[in-house]
Protein backbone atom coordinates (compact mmCIF):
# COMPACT_ATOMS: atom_id res chain seq x y z
CA UNK A 1 0.00 0.00 0.00
CA UNK A 2 2.69 2.51 0.96
CA UNK A 3 4.66 1.42 -2.11
CA UNK A 4 1.60 2.26 -4.15
CA UNK A 5 1.26 5.69 -2.55
CA UNK A 6 4.94 6.44 -3.17
CA UNK A 7 4.66 5.50 -6.81
CA UNK A 8 1.48 7.54 -7.20
CA UNK A 9 3.15 10.52 -5.55
CA UNK A 10 6.02 10.23 -8.02
CA UNK A 11 3.61 10.25 -10.96
CA UNK A 12 1.77 13.25 -9.50
CA UNK A 13 5.18 14.95 -9.49
CA UNK A 14 5.70 14.34 -13.23
CA UNK A 15 2.22 15.69 -13.87
CA UNK A 16 2.85 18.77 -11.75
CA UNK A 17 6.05 19.65 -13.61
CA UNK A 18 4.31 19.24 -16.99
CA UNK A 19 1.29 21.24 -15.83
CA UNK A 20 3.43 24.06 -14.41
CA UNK A 21 5.33 24.22 -17.71
CA UNK A 22 2.07 24.37 -19.69
CA UNK A 23 0.75 27.03 -17.35
CA UNK A 24 3.83 29.13 -18.10
CA UNK A 25 3.26 28.71 -21.84
CA UNK A 26 -0.52 29.02 -21.99
CA UNK A 27 -1.85 30.23 -18.65
CA UNK A 28 0.59 33.12 -18.40
CA UNK A 29 1.87 33.78 -21.92
CA UNK A 30 -1.23 32.64 -23.85
CA UNK A 31 0.57 30.26 -26.22
CA UNK A 32 -1.15 27.01 -27.00
CA UNK A 33 0.78 23.74 -26.78
CA UNK A 34 -0.96 20.46 -27.49
CA UNK A 35 2.30 18.67 -28.20
CA UNK A 36 3.13 18.09 -24.53
CA UNK A 37 3.32 14.34 -25.14
CA UNK A 38 6.00 15.04 -27.76
CA UNK A 39 8.09 17.17 -25.39
CA UNK A 40 7.68 14.53 -22.69
CA UNK A 41 8.77 11.83 -25.15
CA UNK A 42 11.69 13.98 -26.32
CA UNK A 43 12.95 14.35 -22.74
CA UNK A 44 12.49 10.67 -21.98
CA UNK A 45 14.15 9.39 -25.15
CA UNK A 46 17.03 11.88 -25.22
CA UNK A 47 17.98 11.02 -21.66
CA UNK A 48 17.21 7.33 -22.09
CA UNK A 49 19.13 6.89 -25.32
CA UNK A 50 22.16 8.81 -24.04
CA UNK A 51 22.37 6.53 -21.02
CA UNK A 52 21.39 3.22 -22.62
CA UNK A 53 23.15 3.50 -25.99
CA UNK A 54 26.03 5.91 -25.47
CA UNK A 55 26.80 5.24 -21.81
CA UNK A 56 26.59 8.88 -20.81
CA UNK A 57 26.29 9.29 -17.02
CA UNK A 58 22.74 10.03 -15.81
CA UNK A 59 23.86 13.29 -14.24
CA UNK A 60 24.70 14.61 -17.72
CA UNK A 61 21.86 12.93 -19.59
CA UNK A 62 19.05 14.60 -17.65
CA UNK A 63 20.34 18.14 -18.26
CA UNK A 64 20.83 17.17 -21.93
CA UNK A 65 17.13 16.19 -22.07
CA UNK A 66 16.19 19.57 -20.61
CA UNK A 67 18.28 21.33 -23.24
CA UNK A 68 16.62 19.25 -25.97
CA UNK A 69 13.20 20.32 -24.68
CA UNK A 70 14.42 23.92 -24.60
CA UNK A 71 15.55 23.81 -28.22
CA UNK A 72 12.35 22.07 -29.38
CA UNK A 73 10.28 24.63 -27.48
CA UNK A 74 12.10 27.54 -29.09
CA UNK A 75 11.67 26.03 -32.54
CA UNK A 76 7.93 25.41 -32.07
CA UNK A 77 7.46 28.94 -30.72
CA UNK A 78 8.83 30.36 -33.97
CA UNK A 79 5.79 28.76 -35.66
CA UNK A 80 3.46 30.81 -33.51
CA UNK A 81 4.51 33.99 -35.29
CA UNK A 82 2.25 33.27 -38.22
CA UNK A 83 -0.50 31.17 -36.67
CA UNK A 84 -3.79 31.88 -35.00
CA UNK A 85 -4.01 30.15 -31.66
CA UNK A 86 -6.53 27.47 -32.63
CA UNK A 87 -4.39 26.54 -35.63
CA UNK A 88 -1.29 26.51 -33.48
CA UNK A 89 -3.16 23.96 -31.36
CA UNK A 90 -3.43 21.61 -34.31
CA UNK A 91 0.17 22.17 -35.41
CA UNK A 92 1.59 21.50 -31.95
CA UNK A 93 -0.56 18.38 -31.67
CA UNK A 94 1.01 17.38 -34.98
CA UNK A 95 4.54 18.00 -33.66
CA UNK A 96 3.77 15.69 -30.74
CA UNK A 97 2.34 12.97 -32.97
CA UNK A 98 5.22 13.16 -35.45
CA UNK A 99 7.74 12.75 -32.62
CA UNK A 100 5.81 9.70 -31.41
CA UNK A 101 5.67 8.25 -34.93
CA UNK A 102 9.41 8.72 -35.37
CA UNK A 103 10.10 6.98 -32.06
CA UNK A 104 7.73 4.18 -33.09
CA UNK A 105 9.16 3.66 -36.57
CA UNK A 106 12.89 4.27 -36.24
CA UNK A 107 13.20 1.18 -34.09
CA UNK A 108 16.84 0.43 -34.88
CA UNK A 109 17.65 3.46 -32.71
CA UNK A 110 14.76 3.73 -30.26
CA UNK A 111 13.75 0.04 -30.05
CA UNK A 112 10.27 1.21 -31.11
CA UNK A 113 7.32 -0.65 -29.63
CA UNK A 114 9.61 -3.20 -27.93
CA UNK A 115 10.51 -0.54 -25.40
CA UNK A 116 13.88 0.95 -24.50
CA UNK A 117 15.54 -0.46 -21.40
CA UNK A 118 17.48 2.02 -19.32
CA UNK A 119 19.62 0.70 -16.50
CA UNK A 120 21.15 3.92 -15.21
CA UNK A 121 19.42 5.76 -12.38
CA UNK A 122 20.43 8.91 -10.58
CA UNK A 123 22.46 7.91 -7.46
CA UNK A 124 21.56 4.29 -8.21
CA UNK A 125 24.76 2.97 -6.60
CA UNK A 126 24.51 5.00 -3.41
CA UNK A 127 21.02 4.12 -2.27
CA UNK A 128 19.74 0.66 -1.56
CA UNK A 129 16.85 -0.81 -3.53
CA UNK A 130 14.43 -0.75 -0.57
CA UNK A 131 14.90 2.97 0.05
CA UNK A 132 15.23 3.94 -3.60
CA UNK A 133 11.51 4.62 -4.42
CA UNK A 134 11.29 6.98 -1.46
CA UNK A 135 14.48 8.72 -2.51
CA UNK A 136 13.14 9.11 -6.05
CA UNK A 137 9.91 10.61 -4.73
CA UNK A 138 12.03 13.16 -2.84
CA UNK A 139 14.11 13.88 -5.93
CA UNK A 140 10.95 14.47 -8.00
CA UNK A 141 9.49 16.63 -5.21
CA UNK A 142 12.62 18.80 -5.25
CA UNK A 143 12.29 19.15 -9.02
CA UNK A 144 8.62 20.13 -8.64
CA UNK A 145 9.63 22.73 -6.07
CA UNK A 146 12.33 24.17 -8.35
CA UNK A 147 9.88 24.31 -11.27
CA UNK A 148 7.27 25.96 -9.08
CA UNK A 149 9.70 28.57 -7.76
CA UNK A 150 11.00 29.41 -11.24
CA UNK A 151 7.47 29.70 -12.68
CA UNK A 152 6.27 31.74 -9.71
CA UNK A 153 9.30 34.02 -9.96
CA UNK A 154 8.62 34.62 -13.66
CA UNK A 155 4.95 35.29 -12.95
CA UNK A 156 5.77 37.96 -10.36
CA UNK A 157 8.68 39.50 -12.22
CA UNK A 158 8.38 42.28 -14.82
CA UNK A 159 8.69 39.52 -17.41
CA UNK A 160 5.45 37.99 -16.09
CA UNK A 161 3.64 41.30 -16.53
CA UNK A 162 4.94 41.58 -20.08
CA UNK A 163 3.83 38.02 -20.83
CA UNK A 164 0.32 38.72 -19.52
CA UNK A 165 0.20 41.84 -21.65
CA UNK A 166 1.17 39.76 -24.69
CA UNK A 167 -1.49 37.22 -23.77
CA UNK A 168 -4.21 39.86 -23.58
CA UNK A 169 -3.19 41.79 -26.68
CA UNK A 170 0.10 41.27 -28.47
CA UNK A 171 -0.29 44.38 -30.61
CA UNK A 172 -0.56 46.64 -27.57
CA UNK A 173 2.48 44.96 -26.02
CA UNK A 174 4.43 45.50 -29.22
CA UNK A 175 3.37 49.16 -29.35
CA UNK A 176 4.62 49.58 -25.79
CA UNK A 177 8.04 48.55 -27.04
CA UNK A 178 8.11 45.00 -25.71
CA UNK A 179 9.90 42.44 -27.84
CA UNK A 180 6.94 40.10 -28.33
CA UNK A 181 8.73 37.49 -30.41
CA UNK A 182 11.68 37.21 -28.04
CA UNK A 183 9.38 36.84 -25.03
CA UNK A 184 7.28 34.18 -26.74
CA UNK A 185 10.25 32.10 -27.88
CA UNK A 186 11.96 32.38 -24.50
CA UNK A 187 8.83 31.40 -22.54
CA UNK A 188 8.04 28.48 -24.78
CA UNK A 189 11.65 27.31 -24.52
CA UNK A 190 11.55 27.49 -20.70
CA UNK A 191 8.34 25.46 -20.74
CA UNK A 192 9.99 22.95 -23.08
CA UNK A 193 12.97 22.77 -20.71
CA UNK A 194 10.78 21.64 -17.80
CA UNK A 195 8.76 19.25 -19.99
CA UNK A 196 12.08 17.68 -21.02
CA UNK A 197 13.02 17.42 -17.35
CA UNK A 198 9.72 15.65 -16.57
CA UNK A 199 10.34 13.24 -19.46
CA UNK A 200 13.86 12.42 -18.30
CA UNK A 201 12.72 11.88 -14.69
CA UNK A 202 9.98 9.57 -15.96
CA UNK A 203 12.41 7.58 -18.13
CA UNK A 204 14.80 6.89 -15.27
CA UNK A 205 11.93 6.08 -12.94
CA UNK A 206 10.21 3.39 -15.02
CA UNK A 207 13.51 2.37 -16.72
CA UNK A 208 11.60 1.00 -19.70
CA UNK A 209 9.97 3.46 -22.07
CA UNK A 210 7.91 2.73 -25.16
CA UNK A 211 6.01 5.01 -27.54
CA UNK A 212 2.50 4.07 -26.46
CA UNK A 213 2.99 6.01 -23.21
CA UNK A 214 3.32 9.24 -25.17
CA UNK A 215 -0.12 9.29 -26.81
CA UNK A 216 -1.82 12.67 -27.28
CA UNK A 217 -4.11 11.80 -24.38
CA UNK A 218 -1.24 12.72 -22.01
CA UNK A 219 -1.47 16.27 -23.33
CA UNK A 220 -5.19 16.15 -22.61
CA UNK A 221 -4.68 15.24 -18.96
CA UNK A 222 -2.20 18.07 -18.53
CA UNK A 223 -4.56 20.53 -20.19
CA UNK A 224 -7.35 19.38 -17.92
CA UNK A 225 -5.06 19.85 -14.91
CA UNK A 226 -4.37 23.44 -15.94
CA UNK A 227 -7.99 24.31 -16.73
CA UNK A 228 -9.40 22.59 -13.64
CA UNK A 229 -6.73 24.10 -11.37
CA UNK A 230 -7.04 27.61 -12.75
CA UNK A 231 -4.97 28.87 -15.67
CA UNK A 232 -2.44 31.49 -14.63
CA UNK A 233 -2.26 30.44 -10.98
CA UNK A 234 0.73 28.22 -10.19
CA UNK A 235 -0.69 27.03 -6.86
CA UNK A 236 -3.97 26.18 -8.58
CA UNK A 237 -1.99 24.16 -11.12
CA UNK A 238 -0.49 21.99 -8.38
CA UNK A 239 -3.99 21.34 -7.04
CA UNK A 240 -5.34 20.68 -10.53
CA UNK A 241 -2.59 18.18 -11.39
CA UNK A 242 -3.15 16.43 -8.06
CA UNK A 243 -6.91 16.27 -8.60
CA UNK A 244 -6.68 14.88 -12.13
CA UNK A 245 -4.10 12.31 -11.04
CA UNK A 246 -6.26 11.21 -8.11
CA UNK A 247 -9.21 10.77 -10.46
CA UNK A 248 -7.01 8.91 -12.91
CA UNK A 249 -5.06 6.63 -10.58
CA UNK A 250 -6.90 6.76 -7.26
CA UNK A 251 -10.06 5.33 -8.78
CA UNK A 252 -8.15 2.11 -9.34
CA UNK A 253 -8.93 1.36 -5.68
CA UNK A 254 -12.65 1.26 -6.40
CA UNK A 255 -11.95 -1.64 -8.72
CA UNK A 256 -10.52 -3.64 -5.83
CA UNK A 257 -13.75 -3.42 -3.89
CA UNK A 258 -16.33 -4.18 -6.56
CA UNK A 259 -16.58 -6.98 -9.06
CA UNK A 260 -19.24 -5.31 -11.18
CA UNK A 261 -16.86 -4.00 -13.81
CA UNK A 262 -13.86 -5.76 -15.32
CA UNK A 263 -10.52 -4.01 -15.79
CA UNK A 264 -11.27 -2.76 -19.29
CA UNK A 265 -14.60 -1.25 -18.26
CA UNK A 266 -13.00 0.29 -15.19
CA UNK A 267 -10.41 2.10 -17.30
CA UNK A 268 -13.20 3.35 -19.57
CA UNK A 269 -15.11 4.56 -16.48
CA UNK A 270 -12.03 6.43 -15.25
CA UNK A 271 -11.67 8.40 -18.47
CA UNK A 272 -15.39 9.20 -18.48
CA UNK A 273 -15.06 10.50 -14.91
CA UNK A 274 -12.14 12.74 -15.86
CA UNK A 275 -14.08 14.17 -18.77
CA UNK A 276 -16.99 14.95 -16.47
CA UNK A 277 -14.61 16.49 -13.92
CA UNK A 278 -13.50 19.00 -16.57
CA UNK A 279 -16.98 19.84 -17.81
CA UNK A 280 -18.50 20.12 -14.32
CA UNK A 281 -15.61 22.28 -13.07
CA UNK A 282 -15.97 24.63 -16.02
CA UNK A 283 -19.71 24.92 -15.43
CA UNK A 284 -19.44 25.58 -11.69
CA UNK A 285 -16.12 27.43 -11.52
CA UNK A 286 -15.44 28.82 -14.98
CA UNK A 287 -11.99 30.12 -14.05
CA UNK A 288 -10.82 26.95 -12.31
CA UNK A 289 -10.54 25.90 -8.65
CA UNK A 290 -8.02 28.61 -7.81
CA UNK A 291 -8.50 31.45 -10.30
CA UNK A 292 -5.65 33.67 -11.39
CA UNK A 293 -5.30 36.50 -8.89
CA UNK A 294 -6.23 39.96 -10.12
CA UNK A 295 -3.05 41.95 -10.38
CA UNK A 296 -3.01 45.34 -8.83
CA UNK A 297 -0.01 47.53 -8.94
CA UNK A 298 0.38 48.12 -5.19
CA UNK A 299 0.56 44.50 -4.08
CA UNK A 300 3.22 43.39 -6.55
Amino acid sequence: MSAYLISMGTYVGFFMILALALNLQWGIAGMVNFGIAGFYAMGAYVSGLLVAKLGVPVGLAIPAACVAGWVLGGAVALLSVRLREDFLAIVTLGVGEVIRLIVLNEDQITEGPRGLRIDGRPFGDLIGPELYPLFYLLLVAVCVLITYLVCERIRRAPMGRTLRAIREDDVVAEVLGKNVLMHRVLTFAIGGFFMGLAGALYAHYVQNISPEVFMPVVAMFIWMSVIVGGAGNNRGILIGAGTVMIFLEGTRFIGDFTDVLDAEKMSAMRIILIGFLLIVTLRLRPRGLLPEPKFNVKKT
Binding site: D86, A89, V91, E97, L104, I227, E264, A268, I271, I279
Partner: protein
Protein backbone atom coordinates in the same frame (compact mmCIF):
# COMPACT_ATOMS: atom_id res chain seq x y z
CA UNK B 1 -3.87 3.92 -56.07
CA UNK B 2 -5.83 6.79 -57.60
CA UNK B 3 -8.98 4.86 -56.83
CA UNK B 4 -8.00 4.34 -53.20
CA UNK B 5 -7.32 8.04 -52.93
CA UNK B 6 -10.80 8.69 -54.31
CA UNK B 7 -12.40 6.43 -51.71
CA UNK B 8 -10.39 8.16 -48.99
CA UNK B 9 -11.53 11.52 -50.26
CA UNK B 10 -15.16 10.42 -50.47
CA UNK B 11 -14.92 9.24 -46.87
CA UNK B 12 -13.54 12.49 -45.47
CA UNK B 13 -15.27 15.04 -47.73
CA UNK B 14 -18.74 15.04 -46.09
CA UNK B 15 -17.45 15.36 -42.51
CA UNK B 16 -14.91 17.96 -43.63
CA UNK B 17 -17.79 20.01 -45.06
CA UNK B 18 -19.75 19.53 -41.84
CA UNK B 19 -16.72 20.50 -39.77
CA UNK B 20 -16.30 23.62 -41.86
CA UNK B 21 -19.95 24.56 -41.36
CA UNK B 22 -19.72 23.97 -37.61
CA UNK B 23 -16.55 26.02 -37.35
CA UNK B 24 -18.21 28.84 -39.24
CA UNK B 25 -20.99 29.04 -36.67
CA UNK B 26 -19.29 28.07 -33.41
CA UNK B 27 -15.82 29.52 -34.11
CA UNK B 28 -13.71 26.80 -32.55
CA UNK B 29 -12.19 23.59 -33.96
CA UNK B 30 -14.50 20.91 -32.65
CA UNK B 31 -12.54 17.75 -31.89
CA UNK B 32 -15.73 16.07 -30.74
CA UNK B 33 -16.37 15.09 -34.37
CA UNK B 34 -14.31 11.95 -33.75
CA UNK B 35 -16.76 10.92 -31.05
CA UNK B 36 -19.76 11.80 -33.22
CA UNK B 37 -18.51 9.63 -36.09
CA UNK B 38 -18.00 6.75 -33.70
CA UNK B 39 -21.57 7.22 -32.46
CA UNK B 40 -22.78 7.00 -36.07
CA UNK B 41 -20.83 3.82 -36.75
CA UNK B 42 -22.07 2.09 -33.60
CA UNK B 43 -25.66 3.27 -34.01
CA UNK B 44 -25.71 1.83 -37.52
CA UNK B 45 -24.14 -1.37 -36.22
CA UNK B 46 -26.81 -1.67 -33.50
CA UNK B 47 -29.64 -1.19 -35.97
CA UNK B 48 -28.05 -3.44 -38.55
CA UNK B 49 -26.75 -6.45 -36.64
CA UNK B 50 -28.62 -6.99 -33.35
CA UNK B 51 -31.88 -5.45 -34.61
CA UNK B 52 -31.63 -6.87 -38.12
CA UNK B 53 -32.57 -3.79 -40.16
CA UNK B 54 -31.22 -3.68 -43.73
CA UNK B 55 -28.18 -1.41 -44.03
CA UNK B 56 -29.78 1.58 -45.85
CA UNK B 57 -32.49 1.81 -43.19
CA UNK B 58 -29.94 1.35 -40.44
CA UNK B 59 -27.83 4.11 -41.98
CA UNK B 60 -30.78 6.50 -42.03
CA UNK B 61 -31.60 5.66 -38.41
CA UNK B 62 -27.94 6.17 -37.45
CA UNK B 63 -27.94 9.60 -39.10
CA UNK B 64 -31.01 10.51 -37.07
CA UNK B 65 -29.46 9.28 -33.82
CA UNK B 66 -26.18 11.09 -34.45
CA UNK B 67 -27.98 14.32 -35.37
CA UNK B 68 -29.84 14.08 -32.07
CA UNK B 69 -26.64 13.38 -30.12
CA UNK B 70 -24.76 16.27 -31.74
CA UNK B 71 -27.61 18.65 -31.07
CA UNK B 72 -27.92 17.48 -27.44
CA UNK B 73 -24.17 17.90 -26.89
CA UNK B 74 -24.40 21.39 -28.30
CA UNK B 75 -27.26 22.37 -26.01
CA UNK B 76 -25.91 20.64 -22.88
CA UNK B 77 -22.19 21.28 -23.17
CA UNK B 78 -21.15 23.94 -25.65
CA UNK B 79 -23.98 26.46 -25.49
CA UNK B 80 -23.62 27.19 -21.75
CA UNK B 81 -19.85 27.65 -22.26
CA UNK B 82 -20.07 30.25 -24.97
CA UNK B 83 -18.07 32.87 -23.06
CA UNK B 84 -14.99 30.64 -22.80
CA UNK B 85 -12.04 31.01 -25.16
CA UNK B 86 -11.81 28.87 -28.29
CA UNK B 87 -8.95 26.92 -26.73
CA UNK B 88 -10.91 25.99 -23.61
CA UNK B 89 -13.77 24.83 -25.83
CA UNK B 90 -11.30 22.82 -27.88
CA UNK B 91 -10.10 21.02 -24.75
CA UNK B 92 -13.72 20.44 -23.73
CA UNK B 93 -14.49 18.97 -27.14
CA UNK B 94 -11.55 16.54 -26.84
CA UNK B 95 -12.79 15.59 -23.38
CA UNK B 96 -16.20 15.00 -24.93
CA UNK B 97 -14.69 12.70 -27.55
CA UNK B 98 -12.95 10.76 -24.78
CA UNK B 99 -16.24 10.47 -22.88
CA UNK B 100 -18.20 9.28 -25.92
CA UNK B 101 -15.48 6.85 -26.96
CA UNK B 102 -15.34 5.32 -23.51
CA UNK B 103 -19.10 5.17 -23.01
CA UNK B 104 -19.17 3.15 -26.22
CA UNK B 105 -16.33 0.99 -24.95
CA UNK B 106 -18.35 0.44 -21.78
CA UNK B 107 -21.33 -0.91 -23.70
CA UNK B 108 -19.72 -2.58 -26.71
CA UNK B 109 -16.17 -3.50 -25.57
CA UNK B 110 -13.25 -2.76 -27.84
CA UNK B 111 -13.78 -5.68 -30.23
CA UNK B 112 -13.54 -5.02 -33.93
CA UNK B 113 -16.82 -5.55 -35.76
CA UNK B 114 -18.42 -5.11 -39.15
CA UNK B 115 -21.85 -4.77 -40.72
CA UNK B 116 -23.99 -7.70 -41.75
CA UNK B 117 -23.70 -7.39 -45.50
CA UNK B 118 -23.26 -10.10 -48.11
CA UNK B 119 -19.60 -10.52 -48.96
CA UNK B 120 -19.05 -9.89 -52.63
CA UNK B 121 -16.06 -10.59 -54.75
CA UNK B 122 -14.27 -7.30 -55.48
CA UNK B 123 -14.37 -6.21 -59.09
CA UNK B 124 -11.12 -6.02 -60.98
CA UNK B 125 -10.62 -2.89 -62.99
CA UNK B 126 -7.30 -2.06 -64.62
CA UNK B 127 -5.55 -4.17 -62.02
CA UNK B 128 -7.19 -2.40 -59.08
CA UNK B 129 -9.47 -4.20 -56.66
CA UNK B 130 -12.72 -2.36 -56.16
CA UNK B 131 -15.45 -3.38 -53.75
CA UNK B 132 -19.07 -2.42 -54.46
CA UNK B 133 -19.17 -0.66 -51.06
CA UNK B 134 -16.37 1.65 -52.12
CA UNK B 135 -18.28 2.62 -55.25
CA UNK B 136 -21.36 3.27 -53.12
CA UNK B 137 -19.35 5.50 -50.79
CA UNK B 138 -18.11 7.58 -53.71
CA UNK B 139 -21.58 7.95 -55.25
CA UNK B 140 -23.24 8.86 -51.95
CA UNK B 141 -20.50 11.31 -51.13
CA UNK B 142 -21.10 13.07 -54.47
CA UNK B 143 -24.86 13.16 -53.83
CA UNK B 144 -24.29 14.65 -50.38
CA UNK B 145 -21.95 17.27 -51.79
CA UNK B 146 -24.48 18.38 -54.38
CA UNK B 147 -27.36 18.32 -51.88
CA UNK B 148 -25.42 20.41 -49.39
CA UNK B 149 -24.54 22.88 -52.12
CA UNK B 150 -28.21 23.22 -53.09
CA UNK B 151 -29.19 23.66 -49.46
CA UNK B 152 -26.64 26.40 -48.88
CA UNK B 153 -27.09 28.21 -52.17
CA UNK B 154 -30.79 28.01 -53.04
CA UNK B 155 -32.92 27.73 -49.88
CA UNK B 156 -33.65 30.48 -47.41
CA UNK B 157 -32.45 28.33 -44.55
CA UNK B 158 -29.10 27.83 -46.29
CA UNK B 159 -28.81 31.56 -46.79
CA UNK B 160 -29.66 32.07 -43.11
CA UNK B 161 -26.97 29.54 -42.13
CA UNK B 162 -24.38 31.43 -44.11
CA UNK B 163 -25.59 34.74 -42.71
CA UNK B 164 -25.27 33.53 -39.11
CA UNK B 165 -21.79 32.18 -39.80
CA UNK B 166 -20.77 35.48 -41.36
CA UNK B 167 -22.11 37.90 -38.78
CA UNK B 168 -24.57 36.67 -36.14
CA UNK B 169 -25.50 40.17 -34.97
CA UNK B 170 -26.32 41.43 -38.45
CA UNK B 171 -28.30 38.24 -39.15
CA UNK B 172 -30.28 38.77 -35.94
CA UNK B 173 -31.09 42.35 -36.92
CA UNK B 174 -32.45 41.07 -40.21
CA UNK B 175 -34.84 38.82 -38.29
CA UNK B 176 -32.94 35.52 -38.45
CA UNK B 177 -33.40 33.43 -35.33
CA UNK B 178 -29.75 32.57 -34.70
CA UNK B 179 -30.42 29.99 -31.97
CA UNK B 180 -32.75 28.03 -34.21
CA UNK B 181 -30.41 28.22 -37.19
CA UNK B 182 -27.48 27.06 -35.04
CA UNK B 183 -29.56 24.12 -33.79
CA UNK B 184 -30.49 23.26 -37.37
CA UNK B 185 -26.85 23.43 -38.49
CA UNK B 186 -25.67 21.18 -35.66
CA UNK B 187 -28.35 18.64 -36.57
CA UNK B 188 -27.42 18.68 -40.29
CA UNK B 189 -23.75 18.29 -39.42
CA UNK B 190 -24.67 15.52 -36.99
CA UNK B 191 -26.45 13.65 -39.78
CA UNK B 192 -23.32 13.98 -41.95
CA UNK B 193 -21.10 12.67 -39.14
CA UNK B 194 -23.51 9.77 -38.69
CA UNK B 195 -23.27 8.92 -42.36
CA UNK B 196 -19.47 9.11 -42.17
CA UNK B 197 -19.66 6.64 -39.33
CA UNK B 198 -21.59 4.26 -41.58
CA UNK B 199 -19.07 4.72 -44.42
CA UNK B 200 -16.17 4.21 -42.05
CA UNK B 201 -17.85 1.01 -40.87
CA UNK B 202 -18.13 -0.15 -44.46
CA UNK B 203 -14.63 0.75 -45.62
CA UNK B 204 -12.65 0.33 -42.39
CA UNK B 205 -13.82 -1.44 -39.23
CA UNK B 206 -16.18 -0.53 -36.43
CA UNK B 207 -14.26 0.07 -33.22
CA UNK B 208 -14.30 2.84 -30.58
CA UNK B 209 -11.29 4.61 -32.10
CA UNK B 210 -12.68 4.75 -35.65
CA UNK B 211 -13.73 8.39 -35.36
CA UNK B 212 -10.52 9.58 -33.71
CA UNK B 213 -8.40 8.07 -36.49
CA UNK B 214 -10.39 10.03 -39.07
CA UNK B 215 -10.27 13.32 -37.17
CA UNK B 216 -6.88 14.51 -38.34
CA UNK B 217 -7.44 13.84 -42.09
CA UNK B 218 -10.78 15.64 -41.75
CA UNK B 219 -9.11 18.62 -40.11
CA UNK B 220 -6.42 18.62 -42.75
CA UNK B 221 -9.03 18.61 -45.52
CA UNK B 222 -11.07 21.39 -43.95
CA UNK B 223 -8.03 23.58 -43.30
CA UNK B 224 -6.56 22.85 -46.71
CA UNK B 225 -9.77 23.98 -48.36
CA UNK B 226 -9.99 27.08 -46.22
CA UNK B 227 -11.92 26.76 -43.02
CA UNK B 228 -15.54 27.89 -43.31
CA UNK B 229 -15.60 27.09 -47.03
CA UNK B 230 -17.53 23.83 -47.57
CA UNK B 231 -16.56 23.55 -51.25
CA UNK B 232 -12.91 24.03 -50.47
CA UNK B 233 -13.31 21.10 -48.09
CA UNK B 234 -14.12 18.80 -51.03
CA UNK B 235 -10.95 19.78 -52.87
CA UNK B 236 -9.06 19.53 -49.59
CA UNK B 237 -10.40 16.00 -49.09
CA UNK B 238 -9.20 14.98 -52.56
CA UNK B 239 -5.71 16.37 -51.91
CA UNK B 240 -5.43 14.73 -48.49
CA UNK B 241 -6.63 11.42 -49.96
CA UNK B 242 -3.99 11.59 -52.67
CA UNK B 243 -1.23 12.67 -50.32
CA UNK B 244 -1.97 9.84 -47.90
CA UNK B 245 -1.90 7.22 -50.64
CA UNK B 246 1.24 8.74 -52.15
CA UNK B 247 3.18 8.54 -48.87
CA UNK B 248 2.69 4.81 -48.74
CA UNK B 249 4.94 4.61 -51.79
CA UNK B 250 7.82 6.30 -49.98
CA UNK B 251 7.39 5.71 -46.25
CA UNK B 252 6.19 2.89 -43.99
CA UNK B 253 2.39 2.99 -43.83
CA UNK B 254 2.49 3.74 -40.10
CA UNK B 255 3.58 7.27 -41.02
CA UNK B 256 0.23 7.81 -42.74
CA UNK B 257 -1.27 9.67 -39.77
CA UNK B 258 1.68 12.04 -39.78
CA UNK B 259 0.94 13.16 -43.34
CA UNK B 260 -2.23 14.98 -42.33
CA UNK B 261 -0.29 16.94 -39.74
CA UNK B 262 2.55 17.82 -42.05
CA UNK B 263 0.06 19.06 -44.69
CA UNK B 264 -1.68 21.19 -42.08
CA UNK B 265 1.56 22.63 -40.72
CA UNK B 266 3.10 23.50 -44.08
CA UNK B 267 -0.12 24.97 -45.42
CA UNK B 268 -0.87 27.04 -42.35
CA UNK B 269 2.60 28.50 -42.47
CA UNK B 270 2.48 29.37 -46.15
CA UNK B 271 -1.15 30.28 -46.62
CA UNK B 272 -2.99 30.62 -43.31
CA UNK B 273 -6.37 31.25 -44.93
CA UNK B 274 -6.36 27.91 -46.82
CA UNK B 275 -6.41 27.39 -50.55
CA UNK B 276 -9.87 28.83 -51.12
CA UNK B 277 -10.56 30.86 -48.00
CA UNK B 278 -10.48 34.61 -47.98
CA UNK B 279 -7.93 36.29 -45.77
CA UNK B 280 -9.36 37.67 -42.56
CA UNK B 281 -8.56 41.22 -41.69
CA UNK B 282 -6.79 41.23 -38.36
CA UNK B 283 -7.41 44.02 -35.97
Amino acid sequence: MIFNALVNAALIAPPAMAFSLLFGILKFPNFAIGGYITVGAFAAYTFNVPLGLPLPLAAAAAMLVTALVVWLMHVLVFQPMEEHSAITLLVVSIALTLIIENVIRLFFSADVRGFEIPLERPWKLLGARITPEQVQIIIWSLVIGVALHCLLAYTWIGRAMRAVADNPMLAAIRGVNATRITAFTTAICGALFGLTGVFAGLDLVIEPLVGWNLTIPIFAAAILGGIGSPYGAIVGALLVGLAEEATILFLPSTYKIGVGFVIIAVLLLLRPQGLFGTAEIRK
